[in-house]
Amino acid sequence: MASLFGKILGGLALAAAAGGAVFWFITAPKPLPESAFAGLSIPDTVNGERLFWAGGCVSCHAPKGAAEKGDLTLSGGEPLKTPFGTFYPPNITADPDAGIGSWSLAQFGNAMLRGVDDEGEHLYPAFPYGSYSRMKPQDIADLFEFLKTLPKSNKASAEHALAFPYSIRRLLGGWQFLYLNAKPRVELASVDEKVARGQYLVEGPGHCGECHTPRDSMGGFLSGKWLAGAPNPEGGKGRIPNITPGGELASWSETDIASYLETGMTPDFDSVGGSMVEVQKNMAHLPASDREAIAAYLKAIPAVK
């Protein structure tokens, strides 16, 4: 009896240890090696700026209203209130102490593609690396170089204020294990160059799905609902629209969508609203071909009612 009890206890201990090892392995940060960012072309800041606007870095990482005044100092932005707690978008200027001025390209690349910071710790996916993971290393290098051209700030970043257990960074490894990959969000039947560019912009740097796709209780996207609309992420009234061909944009032409992204005006002469106002202003900086590519992609994805 005693020996059986001992065996059970030993078995449990073993299972716990094995479980712990698996847990430890799964939740460990998994940065890409330096070599992933080696052998790239000389960074092109013009392309970097294009990605800067596609990604909308300024909307979260700069104080409210700064961008409108032409101030692109990414000294940290407005607090982001979520059900998990409040996130404070950090200083990402080239200041070596307060910002990311001392980071290598590989460190920046790992933040963007793997959600790992310069000290090897997990970043919270409020920073949408779950989308950025689809970006090309050359684009990462170009963007990094462009960010270095922007003004520096020595303003210290605030610590996020999160509820337990979300405050434990290690757990984010579990989230990444479940949801972080570089796979396409949707399989498209026929993809020409334009649609492919749109897919890259929307699913990658543009991170449109972060607001327009509904999530499960753990913050992962619900399958089969890509861009099908979601509740207001700040809670309360309002919702983010369905932008598949089965939703609010059903009657919009590609030209209508591209024109909306350029001017903020809907086909029935209503104006852009909510958090899309910032996004639209960023999209207006892109070349017309990029806005047209986004429009073509949005017309090509599966319609969700």
């Binding site: 309002g238 919702r239 104006s271």
Partner: protein, 147 residues
């Protein structure tokens, strides 16, 4: 030309219609006012997009609608009209009424200035749409919630 005059007259009429509707619930009145603003904006945008020829009467009518509407629009948010009638008004309006009114006033002021120096061609209408559209967005960013 005659058709355009009719169009301009219709635009002007829609303002009057907005005023007549004042007996209705404020949620309905303000929604009608916003729809009138959309139509007024449409008159300008159609010129910019080349769907209609430049017409000073249309531009004038559109801008007049905007100026007149903004004079009374912020008064359509009395206490008790926060919900109901599928209103898209954000609760933030009542928390920041002064800012909300200031944003409406800015659109009114910009539209008045444009009316005083009427955009004389398609390009000038384009610039006007940019200014006015930014005013629309600045308010809708915070104070409108789509449902």
């Amino acid at each position: 030309m005659k058709l355009k005059t009719v169009f301009a007259a219709t635009l002007a009429l829609s303002v009057v219609a907005g005023a007549v509707g004042a007996a209705e619930a404020p949620q309905v009145v303000r929604k009608d006012m916003m729809e009138g603003m959309g139509k007024a904006m449409g008159g300008l945008v159609n010129i910019v997009k080349g769907k209609t020829e430049y017409n000073a009467d249309v531009v004038k009518a559109s801008l007049t609608t905007m100026v007149d509407t903004m004079k009374t629009f912020p008064d359509q948010f009395p206490a008790g009209s926060e919900t109901g009638h599928k209103t898209e008004a954000s609760p933030k309006i009542w928390q920041n009424m002064d800012d909300f009114k200031a944003k409406a006033a800015k659109l009114g002021t910009d539209a008045s200035a444009l009316l005083a120096a009427l955009p004389a061609d398609k390009a000038a209408v384009g610039a006007a749409v940019k200014t006015l559209g930014a005013d629309c967005g600045a308010c809708h960013e915070t104070y409108r919630l789509k449902d």
